[in-house]
Assembly symmetry: C2
């Protein structure tokens, strides 16, 4: 399993949004949120390539980077391991924590209801 560090993740997220991008485009895209030196971003790009998380095509002497792993796959793998580690694998207690901190809004609840409806549908038709 490819391990992506926190700083590296921010770079991946830029490239999950738009792809492929040059190093400078990534630097620019990160400019808003992060106060990182250009060199720092290039290091992160390099490490991600080494790890096999990014690939690139050459465009002149610059590179155009693109993700080699899908965001959804990454999200799901991370979710599983997080919930496993912190909540012994059960997702409901995590949601309960959000509820108790008033971090649930109407949209979330709407989506959860839909998920549950789908799940129940799935249950009874097989």
């Amino acid at each position: 399993m490819i391990e992506i560090s926190n700083a590296e993740l921010s770079v991946m997220q830029v490239l999950w949004q738009r792809q492929p991008l040059s190093a400078n485009d990534v630097v620019a895209a990160l400019g808003n949120d992060k106060d990182w030196h250009e060199k720092t971003v290039k290091t992160l790009l390099n490490r991600l390539v080494s790890k096999g998380a990014l690939g690139f095509d050459k465009d002149g002497r610059a590179y155009l980077y693109y993700p080699l792993i899908a965001e959804q796959d990454y999200q799901q793998q991370q979710s599983r391991s997080f919930v496993e580690r912190i909540f012994a694998g059960r997702v409901a207690p995590l949601v309960a924590g959000f509820a108790s901190q008033n971090k649930l809004n109407a949209d979330d609840v709407q989506q959860l209801k839909q998920l549950i409806a789908d799940w129940e549908q799935e249950q009874h038709h097989d």
Copy 2:
């Protein structure tokens, strides 16, 4: 915010279950799951004390360790930061991932329904 590493977390989890415990008790409790040398566990206990995550009382020349932070607080803080980082703060997509991987069971769904019911109750009575 106190940062607890992965290995350290396993030690905390032992002490969240039973408390206070001597170093040897912790070593024994971890024996089942982890293949850690006794010295390793003691190092982790030490680091957790340094970080302010554990306290201890002396019992002769041994120490009896106990958590200084509550498991629930830790879980909620970690949940928030995880969901923030991976899902831009929205919890529903995380649950959707579980659903799509067939990682939801009837218990989870039951609990989620209850949470939703409580949430809706809460909404309309204020």
